[in-house]
């Protein structure tokens, strides 16, 4: 999809050229808005909440890389607990561990005392947990750099050292360890060593204190996953499930021994939809040849486009003359009081031609007219508000009349434009005196040097502004090249159509508002508001995961129904186990689905899935996860090699 350029906005030079706005930022905004709208729908602001205070400890530098993803996933379910969930890193295995504070996406060293203070904060009565009798400690260990069984044991000893250092009693806590297990081909030997070491913890063997979840990047189907994204999501989901007022679920999950999971996740393709929406919007606002179009200065209609009427005066000032000056003109009765060189009675002289009246009154008529205009010019000279209003109004007119490229080239003809203000044609003095007066005042005002300069400066400002705006807009368009193309043609066509529908109804109005944008902040706000407006324009944008699929897939007559499609995605071969094992995993103590309760999908799944399935209300309707917990026995992971 190509991105074109834009129509010109209003005011002058307030774009900070070092700052920018990108399509990625706009897509991110789109996704965050949908999250927030989804939370407010169905009358429920939140899903289930964490029951006990909890602390997540990341063991080692590699593990700390998961902080951002895990905290983000937790906060997706519990956004209201942003300040109450605590995350701490432990730098390396040691008897005297060094701690790292992980907060608001930042890392900083922290002392043992500071960690102890964090533990106190967990139990702060002002928090919103339901039960303070236990604290939940979750440990995340990325085992990528672990080479031997000793390395693994060192980390497990470090967990004990942390608790000793902080004087934590076992009875006050419940614990869970996640081991992210790299089983790429070049790590076969280490894998076997760690599996064997882990087997010692199976069935509560060497450790009766906490549950260990072994999450490999090699799935039961032998597929190898790159990166830990889904593992982090699993960790967050297990934390959510286990921090639960349902004691059966909590007991199951905190039971000692080793376990793994089978897991599948699907979500509304919010980012892909956001990309289609943002690109369509930017394309529309950009227009076709806005930026490269060069002004043809020989074009006869140029004066008209610059706001000059057939008589060469500015229409904008003509309006002012009509409203402000014409009412000041002398009335016919007053004209009859002008001096005359003769006492011959000619009757009513207010109907005379201007020349004749001037002749009869010895220039009095012209003097009165000039006095009026001079008075107004003096008033304009000292009235900053009026000058600004004219300047702004004229800039707005220019932005509606000219494309960005044309405005930029106007600046190259600054002198010619200034001459145009002196081209007003003098009215013929043979017409009716009051009609003549109106036209004469237009000429006097429009050709006044100071006023002409005001408008010529407005053109210069607008040209300069357009140039700056063009650069910012080009940068925004360029940033679309950094996005991966959305390959789902159904999705692209569906949402392009939705945005087109919106623009058919509101495009004109949108472009008008766009022209009032005068700074980078205003541009950002304008685009955010436009995205909000698009989201509100069709219910499909805010529809839940399954409703969105249903609306979109129903367009394709050969497609499966959304329900079939979703069911297939969440079950069967898509539900993969995150560990390759010997023999089979016999025990599945927990089958769970994490989704927003009260949605059509939750009702359908309850109808289709096993009655023993546990449903966890995430309060977030744009995603669904199926997570089954399997006990791992030593025979499942014990190998002969590498011991």
């Amino acid at each position: 999809m190509m991105c074109a350029t834009s129509v010109p906005p209003l005011k002058a030079g307030r774009f900070n050229m070092s700052a920018e706005i990108t399509t990625a930022e706009l897509i991110e905004y789109y996704a965050r808005r949908l999250e927030s709208i989804d939370r407010d729908s169905l009358g429920a602001v939140h899903g289930k909440e964490p029951y006990f205070p909890m602390l997540v400890l990341f063991l080692g530098e590699e593990s700390m890389k998961g902080y951002e993803s895990i905290s983000r996933n937790l906060l997706l379910a519990w956004p209201q607990f942003r300040e109450e969930l605590k995350f701490i890193g432990v730098k390396s295995p040691s008897e005297s561990p060094e701690f790292v504070k992980l907060e608001h996406g930042q890392q900083s060293p922290m002392t043992t005392d500071e960690v102890a203070k964090v533990l106190d904060e967990l139990d702060d009565a002002r928090n919103h947990f339901k039960d303070y009798t236990s604290d939940l400690l979750y440990y995340v260990l990325d085992a990528t750099s672990i080479q031997t069984a000793e390395d693994l044991h060192a980390w497990i000893s470090t967990i004990e050292a942390v608790k000793d250092e902080l004087d934590i009693y076992e009875n006050d806590i419940m614990q869970m360890l996640f081991v992210l297990f790299d089983e790429g081909k070049r790590r076969r030997r280490q894998s076997r060593r760690i599996r064997n070491a882990m087997s010692e913890y199976c069935e509560g063997g060497a450790n009766e204190r906490y549950r260990m979840f072994l999450l490999s990047n090699r799935l039961s189907t032998s597929k190898l996953l790159h990166g830990w994204d889904s593992h982090y999501r699993i960790c967050a989901s297990l934390m959510a499930l286990s921090n639960n007022d349902d004691t059966n679920i909590a007991d199951t999950l905190f039971h000692d021994g080793v376990a793994t999971v089978s897991y599948v996740h699907d979500e509304k393709p919010v980012n892909d939809i956001g990309q289609v929406v943002v690109r369509s919007l930017v394309d529309y606002l950009g227009g076709d040849d806005e930026i490269s179009y060069v002004l043809d200065f020989e074009d006869m209609s140029l004066a008209q486009r610059l706001g000059f009427n057939d008589h060469g005066t500015l229409s904008l000032l003509d309006d002012y003359v009509e409203k402000q000056l014409v009412p000041l003109l002398p009335t016919p009765e007053q004209i009859n009081l002008f001096p005359r060189w003769t006492s011959d009675d000619f009757g009513d002289i207010s109907g005379y031609a201007a020349d004749d009246l001037d002749n009869l009154t010895m220039g009095t008529w012209s003097a009165v007219l000039e006095g009026l205009v001079n008075g107004i010019l003096e008033r304009v000279r000292t009235d900053g508000m009026r000058r600004k209003q004219w300047s702004d109004e004229y800039k707005r007119m220019l932005s509606e009349e000219f494309k960005v490229g044309e405005l930029v080239s106007l600046a190259l003809h600054s002198d010619d434009i200034r001459k145009m203000f002196r081209n007003a044609s003098e009215p013929t003095a043979t017409g009716n005196v009051l009609e003549y007066a109106k036209r004469k005042m237009r000429v006097l005002l429009s050709s006044n040097k100071e006023i002409a300069e005001l408008f010529a400066d407005a053109i210069d400002d607008q040209a300069r502004y357009s140039n700056e705006f063009r650069e910012v807009w080009k940068e925004l368009c360029r940033s679309t090249l950094e996005l991966h193309e959305v390959h789902d043609t159904n999705l692209v066509a569906f949402y392009q159509g939705k945005v087109r529908n919106y623009l058919d109804r509101h495009g004109f109005e949108l472009k008008r508002s766009f022209r009032d944008v005068s700074s980078l902040d205003e541009l950002r706000k304008f685009l955010f508001d436009a995205i909000d407006d698009i989201i509100q324009s069709d219910p499909v944008f805010t529809a839940s995961y399954e409703d969105e699929q249903e609306s979109r897939l129903s367009r394709d007559v050969h497609a499966q129904t959304a329900q079939q499609y979703i069911r297939q995605k969440l079950t069967g071969e898509n539900l993969e186990t995150y560990l390759q094992v010997n023999l089979s995993l016999n025990s599945t103590p927990l089958k769970s689905v994490l989704l927003k309760e009260g949605t059509k999908l939750s009702e359908n799944l309850k109808h289709d899935l096993s009655p023993s399935t546990y449903y966890y209300d995430t309060g977030y309707g744009n995603a669904v996860e199926v997570l089954n917990v399997h006990d791992v026995l030593s025979q499942n992971i014990l190998t002969d090699e590498g011991r």
Binding site: R340, M362, V368
Partner: protein
């Protein structure tokens, strides 16, 4: 020629400007053989203020002279309502006025190549380089009547007032310096109207209301 500001100098000076009661021309004192610049301004505003440099060092009068160069022998409007004339050392018998109801100021000039230095003037007691030239004008208002009837013995009102002036105002007059009030309006008097009235026994205003002629220029005293 280019004009430049120069501070007061005891050598190049012009002062004691006055109107010679015999010739009715302007006269002043200055060293022999020196050129001078006579400047006419609106009544009550001597041109010294225009020559004084501002904070940036530029003089409004000097800038005006550089844009509209004054010449010998006649007055040139160098800026709106301000006229200037160069008086050469050879000109004797004083400098003619460019109208009354205004103020005249004289400055010493020094020619250096194609540059004129304009020297600041100084006032000492009653001896000063400027002079207000007020004018007194007698205004007369009279109802215009005509006689009618078979024996032309009946005098009737024509509905006109005649307005007459004892003398003209000359250059430097600005339209509206004199005006008349009738009913709720004020009508400016142009120089053409005043000159016509002086030359033709008056001008006319058609009204049955009372007319009052007034001056906005302190240099024009209506009597």
């Amino acid at each position: 020629m280019r004009f430049e500001y120069a501070p007061y100098d005891g050598v190049f000076y012009a002062t004691n400007l006055h109107r010679d009661s015999r010739t009715r021309k302007l006269a002043w004192e200055h060293p022999a053989g020196m050129e001078t610049l006579v400047v006419q301004t609106p009544f009550g505003t001597p041109a010294m203020g225009l020559l004084d440099p501002d904070e940036s060092g530029s003089s409004a009068l000097v800038s005006a002279c550089n844009q509209n160069e004054p010449v010998v022998g006649s007055y040139t409007e160098v800026m709106e309502g301000v006229y200037a004339r160069i008086v050469p050392a050879t000109e004797i018998g004083g400098c003619p006025l460019n109208g009354e109801a205004c103020t005249y100021t004289v400055f010493a000039l020094q020619r250096l190549g194609d540059t004129y230095k304009v020297f600041e003037s100084r006032t000492k007691g009653m001896i000063r380089a400027w002079q207000d030239i007020p004018v007194e004008i007698h205004v007369q208002l009279q109802k215009v009547t005509r006689v009618q009837g078979r024996f032309r013995k009946q005098t009737v009102d024509t509905g006109f007032w005649r307005m007459s002036f004892s003398r003209s105002v000359g250059e430097g007059y600005t339209t509206g310096d004199l005006y008349y009030r009738v009913g709720n309006i004020e009508v400016p008097l142009t120089q053409d109207a005043i000159d016509y009235a002086v030359g033709h026994d008056g001008i006319y205003v058609k009204t049955d209301k009372r007319i009052e002629v007034l001056s906005r220029n302190a240099g024009i005293r209506l009597v």
